[in-house]
Amino acid sequence: MIKFLKLLFLTGIFLLSSCTEELPLEEGVFDNPLDEDEVSYETPALTFFPFINDVSLGGSFIVSVFILGVEDLGGSYVKFSYDKNQIEYLNDGVGDLFDDASQSPICLVEVDQNTGIVTINTSFLGSDSTHVDGTGSIVDITFRALSTGTSSLTFDVNSELVTPSDGSIEIKGFGEGVVNAL
């Protein structure tokens, strides 16, 4: 009888435990690199969006270079590197950070395919007061995967942000991009 009751108890416990669902983890769920409340660095900051790029071999993908939480931005000099053996540059386009500006900026993108370094220069002509604030992309770059593997997109810490009066804006954080070519 005691053996039976034990069996009954175990069966009840089993039924009880089998009737609950496994909740998703709370930690690490909010991982949008543009979510200023969740990222580990302070703003203003430079980051890639999306920060993880899964791409098949030979396929292309777009990475946006974002400036987060900036105020009174008049120009920028942003430099980052990529693995030239794994991906290759295809083309680029002006981002949306400057959409609300009173004039269109000059945007120069230089790509050195031999070293895998991209240099982006943006500035406004003619007026010292034109500037933008907030968060947005300065350029959208299209790459193509050449070989399988994982590599990273890394900002050069010497990148610069300046005000219309050419005052330096301190960049307090740098995000990193990851490319997974399958």
Binding site: T20, E21, L23, P50
Partner: protein
């Protein structure tokens, strides 16, 4: 061609034949085709021996046939046509001659025999038989042929031997004598006994109809042939080796079965068994089935032993099994409330069932809520991860957190309701067991019982017996 020395022999033969009304017959050695001469000679000799047993003819000895043929310059093997046989028959002074052939085709042996009139040359009777198997099986076929060629039925033992060569004994069962029970009951039990004997596959049985025919021929009506002498006589006529006879008696509630198997040839008892049984007459069936095995010196099969162990009251009472606590428990384990229903507590059963169904329903609803919240959660999380506008990011983030809270609530409810359902199920099974039928009827039937006496407040071992 005929020599003077034959004359006295022929005259003597004619004289002897005239003394008897039985027809005279001589058998020529059969012609062999694919069978050796010695084998053919052995088989023909078997027919001669058996035909003498028919007691329906006068058979001329083989030596006499050989002598005549030698005098006429014939070899038996050379006298194969009807003219030669007829001539030999005339010299022997017999009325009929039997000749034939034994052949082999593949694995099968064939026997063709005919009896013809010496006087007219007309074939009186012809028979044939086919045998598959070893040539030794032809011995039995020749014996059967000996009877059939003379126009008689072969004895049952020969036919039985042909039908079941592996069986070691041929047996006939006389209807058991009824003493205190009706003849119909005795006959039914005898039939069951006969069936059980057949199922042993160790004996070849004579059909009841055949035996009844023999009994009727002998002028015995039902139960008239009760003595061993009569049974032995019937057995001899049936051609069986053993007879089984017996009696079933009733004294109060007690039945006795006495059975005896004895040799027809010697009259010696081979096996004698007695059974005493108390209970309903139905229970005798198992006893008599067991007896069929016992009388042959065999162990009854498991099925019969099990029935015997269960006891006649259980076997006779094939009604519904008595209710038990265990039965209530098992039913409640499978479907909550069914144990109570089994115990006759209908209201409790319905209550338990409805409560359990309600809890399971609420748990199922919670599970559904969880699933829909999870789907929404995953959709909004994907929107959040793809958003680039800070305002949208913040908005999606709030929705994702809300959906996660919904999932948590649904999961908590699921755990609560399924927990209640599981607990209810456990309580229901324990309740079914504790409130199940107090005592099974088989326990009540036991002569002894260990139970708690609430009046004397002590456990007591009681013992009952009928006066």
């Amino acid at each position: 061609m005929k020599k003077p020395i034959l004359l006295p022999f022929i005259l003597l033969s004619t004289f002897l034949i005239a003394q008897s009304a039985k027809p005279t017959v001589a058998i020529l050695d059969f012609e062999g085709q694919g069978v050796s001469a010695s084998e053919v000679q052995t088989l023909t000799e078997r027919m001669r021996t058996e035909i003498g047993n028919t007691n329906a003819i006068r058979l001329i000895e083989r030596k006499a046939v050989e002598k005549i043929m030698a005098e006429q310059g014939f070899q038996q093997s050379g006298c194969t046509n009807d003219e030669c046989a007829s001539e030999v028959g005339q010299l022997l002074g017999v009325q009929f001659m039997v000749s034939g052939s034994i052949g082999k085709m593949g694995d099968a042996y064939t026997i063709d025999a005919k009896m013809f009139s010496v006087e007219t040359g007309e074939t009186v009777r012809s028979k044939n038989a086919t045998h598959k198997g070893d040539i030794s099986g032809l011995l039995n076929e020749m014996q059967i042929m000996a009877w059939e060629i003379t126009g008689l039925d072969a004895p049952a033992n020969l036919k039985l031997k042909r039908a079941g060569s592996e069986a070691t004994r041929t047996v006939a069962v006389m209807d058991f004598e009824a003493r205190g029970i009706t003849p119909q009951e005795a006959q039914t039990l005898t039939d069951r006994f006969t069936t059980a004997l057949s199922s042993t596959k160790k004996v070849v049985m004579v059909e009841r109809g055949t035996m009844v025919d023999v009994l009727e021929e002998q002028g015995f009506e039902g139960g008239g042939c009760a003595s061993d002498e009569c049974a032995a006589e019937v057995g001899a006529m049936l051609g069986v080796e053993y007879m089984i006879s017996g009696a079933i008696g009733k004294l109060g509630d007690t039945y006795t079965i006495d059975a005896k198997m004895f040799s027809v040839a010697t009259g010696a008892a081979e096996s004698m068994k007695s059974i005493t049984y108390s209970g309903k007459v139905d229970g005798l069936i198992v006893e008599i089935e067991s007896l069929a095995w016992d009388i042959l010196g065999l162990d009854p099969p498991k099925s019969i032993r099990r029935k015997l162990q269960q006891g006649s009251p259980n076997y006779a009472n094939m009604g519904p099994k008595p209710k038990s606590k265990a039965g209530a428990l098992v039913r409640s384990m499978v479907i909550p409330g069914f144990g109570q229903l089994y115990s006759g507590k209908t209201k409790t059963a319905v209550g338990v069932l409805l409560l359990e169904a309600g809890m399971i329903g609420l748990a199922a609803k919670s599970s559904g809520d969880y699933a829909s919240s999870q789907t929404e959660y995953e959709t909004q999380l994907a929107n959040y991860q793809g958003a680039t506008d800070p305002g949208e990011i913040a908005g999606y983030k709030i929705i994702v957190e809300q959906k996660r809270a919904d999932m948590t609530d649904a999961n908590n409810q699921l755990a609560l309701f399924s927990g209640i359902a599981a607990g209810l199920w456990a309580i229901n099974t324990i309740h079914a067991f504790l409130t199940g039928p107090e005592l099974a009827s088989n326990e009540l039937n036991k002569p002894y019982r260990l139970a708690y006496n609430p009046i004397k407040k002590q456990a007591q071992l009681s013992w009952e017996f009928s006066l």
